[in-house]
């Protein structure tokens, strides 16, 4: 048996191949994401665990968790070595030099992310600053005397050396005492990491777990409440567009009078970007839900009218004429021919338009008071917490996709006549549970009676 080629113009792949390719189409992006997140070769950034003060106080301070480009870190480390050198020079000149105890405390506390990452801190430690400082003091001691090593991020020899030097000073004081002798800075060090805009999958999953389950702070709404708010905007605007747009569209498609009256202006109107009306809508409808729904509505309704008018026009005119010769009047044509005739295609149009409505969601939720999922995305995006942003974006995608697919599956139940030829949806090969091809037509032909006509001359047998 010869294998079929993989590339055949306008031919379908076997369902076996199609299934695996479609599964692959979902797995591939995830695999690429994982590769960039977990293979250090692809990492462009360091995620800082140890940070230090800047030589120039005007420059941006880093905190643990910040990401810097890989080629930026050596310069930053060199800068801190410079600060340390000047501290060492000061001590050499005057061993009894006095520094700021406040600065020292800050330098001591720079070990916290390391202690945290290694799990050296208990819940009680995190309860008060005092307990924390004590725990960090212990951590310095343990590291200096080699009782523990940092597994989460191996410390450089340089940093271990600094820890030992600082511990010489610190060990003379009790935990919590103010230390006047200037301490050295730890040299900035970090873990190789993905860029900030591409958090690793596990970070997203854990952030999603927190955001979707935990009780939000500051009276913020739960994620499901945000989702319900967003769904209200999308479906509110969409349903209004459907209620108003569908009848107009059908009228335009049926009667040239309405078509000429409505369609040219609608065509013009749809080129005016809906978001440009946002301030106007806020002025008209206030800052709450109404302008948002209105924005989705005006973003969707022109397309609704034009698409449905076109779908109506595509109905085979012969069907209308056939109905007329059977005695159908204008009302009957509309209710018994045009409407049932276009409904399967209108349903498909509505699925496409629902997708449109979702795209207006983000802009709609930003106008007036920010609400819903978009408010969350916007806030967390501003704080560069993209590990919290990604799950929400993906959730919107999953909701849209599953809605669309279930509506498509529902179409088989609603419009059975459209599916008598084994017409399949694009993703049907993914459905392992129903892969029996239906062949009603062949069955019908087999069951057909022999044609009861007067006998036609039998074709002469080929000699």
């Amino acid at each position: 048996m010869t294998r079929e080629p993989w590339l055949m113009v306008r031919r379908e792949l076997s369902s076996h191949r199609a299934r695996w390719i479609m599964i692959g189409s979902f797995l591939l992006p995830i695999a690429i994401w994982c590769a960039f997140a977990y293979i250090p070769f692809f990492h462009g950034d360091y995620k800082l665990l140890i940070t230090a003060e800047r030589a120039d106080p005007a420059m941006a301070n880093f905190v643990a968790g910040d990401r810097v480009a890989k080629d930026y870190l050596p310069g930053y480390a060199e800068e801190v070595r410079g600060i340390n050198a000047s501290i060492a020079a000061q001590l050499e000149a005057d061993p009894a030099a006095i520094g700021s105890s406040r600065t020292n405390l800050k330098r001591i506390r720079r070990i916290e992310p390391i202690a945290d990452a290694n799990g050296w801190l208990t819940a009680e430690d995190e309860e008060s600053t005092k307990a924390m400082d004590k725990a960090l003091y212990v951590a310095w001691g343990n590291l200096a005397e080699g009782r523990v090593t940092s597994e989460a991020m191996p410390l450089s020899d340089e940093n271990l050396d600094i820890i030992r030097k600082n511990w010489e000073v610190m060990s003379k004081h009790a935990p919590g005492d103010s230390i006047k002798t200037p301490l050295l800075n730890l040299i900035p060090q970090g873990l190789s990491a993905t860029p900030v805009f591409l958090p690793a999958p596990h970070e997203c999953i854990s952030a999603a777990w927190d955001d979707f389950t935990a009780e939000p702070a500051n009276n913020q709404p739960y994620m499901y409440e945000r989702l319900l708010g967003s769904l209200k905007v999308v479906f509110g605007g969409f349903l209004m567009a459907a209620i108003i747009g569908m009848p107009i569209g059908v009228l335009c498609g049926s009667y040239d009078l309405f078509s000429k009256m409505v369609e040219p202006f609608t065509d013009f109107f749809r080129y005016m970007p809906a978001p440009t009306f946002s301030l106007l809508l806020v002025a008209a409808f206030g800052v709450e839900g109404a302008p948002k729904i209105a924005l989705v509505f005006i973003g969707t309704v022109p397309h609704m009218i034009l698409m449905i008018a076109n779908t109506t026009r595509l109905l085979d005119r012969n069907l209308i004429e056939a109905a007329q010769t059977l005695g159908a009047d204008r009302g009957t044509l509309m209710s018994r021919v045009i409407m049932p005739g276009i409904i399967p295609n209108v349903y498909t149009d509505l699925r496409v338009l629902l997708g449109w409505a979702w795209t207006w969601l983000v802009i709609a939720e930003l106008i007036g008071t920010k609400t819903g999922l978009t408010a969350f995305i916007d806030t967390q995006g501003d704080r560069r917490n993209f590990d919290r942003v990604f799950p929400v974006i993906i959730m919107i995608g999953v909701i849209g996709f599953t809605t669309d697919q279930s509506l498509q599956a529902l179409a088989r139940v609603l419009f059975p006549w459209e599916y008598t030829q084994g017409k399949k949806s694009r993703l049907s090969a993914l459905a392992f549970w129903r892969n029996r091809p239906s062949k009603p037509r062949e069955e019908a032909a087999a069951a057909a009676p022999a044609t009861p006509t007067t006998p036609t001359p039998a074709p002469a047998a080929a000699s």
Partner: protein
């Protein structure tokens, strides 16, 4: 060419008697000087159809045959009321009709069954519009489906049927509405030759069993003669009636009649009307544009 040059169609006495009986029947449809002109995009007035007049009598089977572009489709669409005429008028049972109506049922060349309705509900469509109750309509629809031999497909969707079966349902649907005249616009044009032959015999059987008058458009002369009592032969520029040929064949028709002397006479006359014999000879013989074989033989 004058009419005397045309092949003559003999009319045996029993056939002449048959036509006398037909002529005694009441007229169902009167077409009077029907014509249609339209204005082309360039602004000239084009006359597609002009001065078409003839009568259709009760239970008569009339076919209209003519070359493409002779306006026969326009003509039947005007009769059906789907297009308007610009000249003349038509009377159905003595009353002027305009616009489509259930009194003039039509079977189209394309498949016009409603895809969202089952075969039975398609046939019920006209019955329900006529005010019949659901049950009565369903029972009557089943009778018509049995009549065209498709009773067991009542619950199938049209998309599950073959082309010939679809046209049989379309005929059943049109007949169920009890039209005064059944209009058929090349109904078998899209079918293959074998199915077409079967369908012609089906139609003849239906015509024998059902009290119906049929006006049938075709471009196939065999079909026109085989089915009809009279053949209306149309010509072009503008579409007009060249002659109405009485078919000298008895009913019921049988396939063997395709080789009957009278059949061939009628066919030849129509053929000569549509394609005058001198015309083809007058065309200049042209050499093929290029050689497509490398064989040394002279192929032309």
């Amino acid at each position: 060419m004058t009419a005397t040059d045309l092949p003559v169609v003999e009319k045996p006495p029993e056939i002449a008697a048959r036509f006398a009986r037909i002529d005694a029947r009441p007229v169902v449809l009167q077409v009077q000087h029907l014509g249609r002109s339209f204005v082309s995009p360039t602004g000239e007035t084009i006359r597609a159809l002009g001065d078409v007049s003839f009568d259709v009598r009760r239970r008569e089977f009339i076919t209209v045959v003519g070359p493409s572009g002779c306006g026969k489709s326009t003509f039947i669409r005007i009769v059906a009321g789907l297009e308007s005429s610009t000249e003349g008028q038509m009377l159905l049972d003595g009353k002027v009709v305009t616009g489509p109506g259930a009194d003039r049922g039509m079977v189209f060349q394309g498949y016009t069954l409603f895809p969202w309705l089952s075969v039975k509900k398609n046939v019920m469509f006209g019955l329900e519009l006529a005010g019949k109750g659901k049950n009565a309509a369903a029972n009557e629809a089943m009778l018509w489906l049995e009549m065209v031999g498709l009773g067991q497909f009542a619950d199938h969707y049209p998309s599950q049927l073959s082309g010939g079966m679809k046209q049989r349902v379309a005929i059943a649907r049109a007949l169920a509405a009890k039209p005064r005249i059944l209009l058929m616009d090349e109904p078998f044009g899209a079918l293959d030759a074998n199915t077409r032959c079967d369908m012609q015999n089906y139609l003849l059987e239906i015509f024998r069993n059902v009290d119906v008058t049929i006006l049938f458009i075709t471009h196939d002369i065999d079909e026109a003669v085989y089915l009809a009592d009279r053949v209306v032969v149309m010509g072009r520029n503008p579409g007009h009636i060249m002659e109405i040929v009485d078919v000298p064949l008895p009913r019921p028709r049988e396939n063997d009649m395709l080789f009957d002397k009278y059949f061939l006479q009628a066919k030849k006359r129509i053929e000569h009307l549509i394609h005058p014999p001198g015309e083809a000879a007058a065309q200049e013989k042209k050499a093929p544009i290029g050689r497509m074989t490398v064989v040394g033989d002279e192929v032309y």
